[in-house]
């Protein structure tokens, strides 16, 4: 097997594929990337047995067909360290991958391609296309709320739901929830739900571009596959029952606050400095047209800030984990934000005042 390729053409797909590969692996081959030359196409595959990413690159120069696996991290570090405009030649000799670029020469250990595992897919039960940009926005607006290491393993991922032509993403860690919905031209009228694991979601988001190109999605019983022009992403699904998110959406909150998002975000950031480092609690004190934000820590240090808001309900004092509020402020984009509250022990609903495709629910803290 042999091919020659420009550094830039190899580096970007290699970085994406290597992102899937875990550093610490029990099976040595899982630390490797699979390289396959077929005709004038080079494909790179990385997997951790849960998520698989295949990148395809068109080769400009004639190549010798074959397949081999090489250490992903090392290959990527070599490519990154080479000068921009260099051509890289990789050739397999005596079970070693010999890489030449300019006056540099590297020899990497290899493992046979036959050792490289496939993520079992099974048949797809639904296929649709969606705008890459929109799907990326859907994920970015919700993924921060996924749990990371929860016993309730189904929370360590994101619910994707198709219902009446809409695609909805929901993520929650049990303390806060993020939900975003987009109109997609999906010809499926029933409700269809699946849970994509955390790593799968984060890798998919990295893969999706800013452009308006379409991404093709295939949903199977145990997997999801997304295909863009040059990449095919496959992830196993989480086998579990996601909580009934609609039950969590607060109804009938009578205290509606409108505020400037940037002003609010900056105030939260400042007061957070003197909140408890571990528990991050802050107090919000609402009165007519005024929101007072207060934080203190075990060293008896204190921060306080007053913000003018549009509010004319009864007074309320409520505590929150400031990180949860900041996470929401950081993903919203409109100038104005709307918070709907009811009492100190009930969840708050946060959304942009003009659009309602994104909804955030945050449970308070007892302070």
């Amino acid at each position: 097997m042999q091919f020659t390729i420009q550094r830039e053409a190899l580096l970007k797909p290699l970085q994406l594929v290597a992102g899937v590969v875990e550093r610490r692996q029990t099976l040595p081959v899982l630390s490797n990337v699979l390289l396959v030359v077929d005709g004038n196409t080079l494909s790179l595959t990385g997997t951790d047995l849960e998520v698989e990413l295949v990148g395809r690159i068109q080769l400009d120069e004639p190549a010798e067909a074959g397949e081999i696996t090489v250490p992903a991290r090392k290959l990527m570090d070599i490519c990154k360290s080479l000068p921009d405009d260099v051509a890289i030649t990789l050739k397999v000799e005596d079970n070693k991958a010999v890489i030449k670029a300019g006056r540099s020469r590297f020899t990497l250990a290899t493992l046979p391609a036959s050792d490289f595992p496939n993520v079992e897919e099974g048949p797809g039960s639904m296929t649709f296309q969606v705008n890459q940009n929109k799907l990326r926005r859907l994920i970015e607006r919700t993924s921060f709320a996924m749990a990371q290491q929860d016993v309730r393993y189904y929370l360590n991922g994101m619910l994707l739901e198709i219902n009446k032509g809409q695609l909805r993403a929901v993520a929650t860690d049990g303390h806060r929830m993020a939900m975003c919905t987009l109109d997609a031209d999906i010809d499926y009228q029933e409700r269809y739900q699946l849970i994509v694991p955390r790593k799968g979601i984060l890798e998919l988001a990295r893969l999706l571009g800013e452009a308006d190109d379409m991404v093709s999605i295939v949903l199977g019983t145990h997997h999801i596959r997304a295909t863009t022009g040059d990449f095919t992403f496959t992830s196993k699904l989480v086998d579990g029952k996601f909580p009934d998110y609609e039950r969590v959406l607060p109804r009938g909150g009578d205290k509606i606050v409108l505020a400037d998002r940037q002003v609010l975000r900056n105030a939260f950031s400042r007061t957070a400095i003197l909140s408890n480092e571990k528990y991050r609690g802050i107090r919000l004190m609402l009165s007519d047209s005024l929101l007072k934000i207060q934080a203190n820590n075990p060293e008896q240090e204190e921060a306080e800030e007053d913000i003018a808001v549009d509010y004319n309900g009864s007074a309320l004092e409520i505590g929150f984990n400031v990180s949860y509020l900041l996470d929401v402020m950081n993903v919203l984009s409109n100038e104005q934000v709307k918070m709907i509250l009811s009492d100190a022990n009930s969840s708050a609903l946060v959304q942009e005042s003009e659009t309602d495709d994104s909804v955030y629910v945050v449970m308070p803290m007892r302070l």
Partner: protein, 364 residues
Amino acid sequence: MLLWSLLDFPSQPAVRKIIHVDCDCFYAAIEMRDDPRLRGRPLAVGGDADKRGVVATCNYEARAFGVRSAMASAYARKLCPDLLIVPPRMAAYREASQAIQAIFTQFTQLIQPLSLDEAYLDVTASESCHGSATLMAREIRRLVQADQGITVSAGVAPNKFLAKIASDWNKPDGLKVILPEEVEEFVRRLPVERLHGVGRVTAARLKSLGVDVCAELLPWRKQDLAREFGSFGERLWQLARGIDDRPLVVESKRQSVSVENTYDQDLPDLQACLNALAPLLEKLAQRLGRLEGEYRVSKPFIKLKFHDFTQTTLEQAGAPVTPEGYRELCIQAFARGGRPVRLIGVGVRLDHAHSLLGEQLNLF
């Protein structure tokens, strides 16, 4: 006296009065109480010898033959052919334990249970028995005997470390009191292996340094002990002087939840171990479901005991708490021994999210 001198030199806190209460061979004692025919003969509570069970506890008649807790039942039978092994009845032990805890509350609310059969009591501020910790310990022992029909041993001392040693001093059915003025002399003669936290390895290292009893530790400077024993060095320095400022942990939090199984036949290879995970994980999920309070998993762990009784525990922060996560841990743990496996344990280490500084409410 000038005001500033009062502020600069606050009075020393009153000497604490700690009682450590330890039931004598608790499980076996409950069995003998409930079935008088078991008295006076070697008895163990634990798993069946034919099924690779382990002795949970045994009575003093069995101990005379060398039978000990955590010993394989089959080996215990070798030491004592007449040993009767009865299966544990956890519900009965829990019931007795709750009744004993209720007795403790007559004397203080500052109780730190260590297990079903032992606890620390801080009676410093208690006015029972005219404030005498010795009389309280006597009364507790009398009440437990009268109410539950079993004996307990108690140790009274100015701190937890000494109280625990004292409760073991006159076992069974004994009481040992270490008065504040006796601490120094008592600790001087104490063998270092009796110190809290000194296991076989540390004891051997101390012996190699010429230290057999605490008196021989006294000339050592704190920094020298720290150099030899790391962070434990400072603790050693304190214990050798009878110092232990640890407060009672009254509201203790669960640190982990786990499930384990000893197999009748060794699991011969990795695949057999992986196949054995599913029922264990199912049990673990049930236990986690019963957890009260708000706990978060910090990491999953797995324990393998190989056929030669060597064992390894592997835990990994960031590893997923899923069947796949445990498979990965199992593969890694098995690779450390590569031998047939007699026991597998799976569990999770827990963090708790409650705090005086704010309790995070849950969505569902």
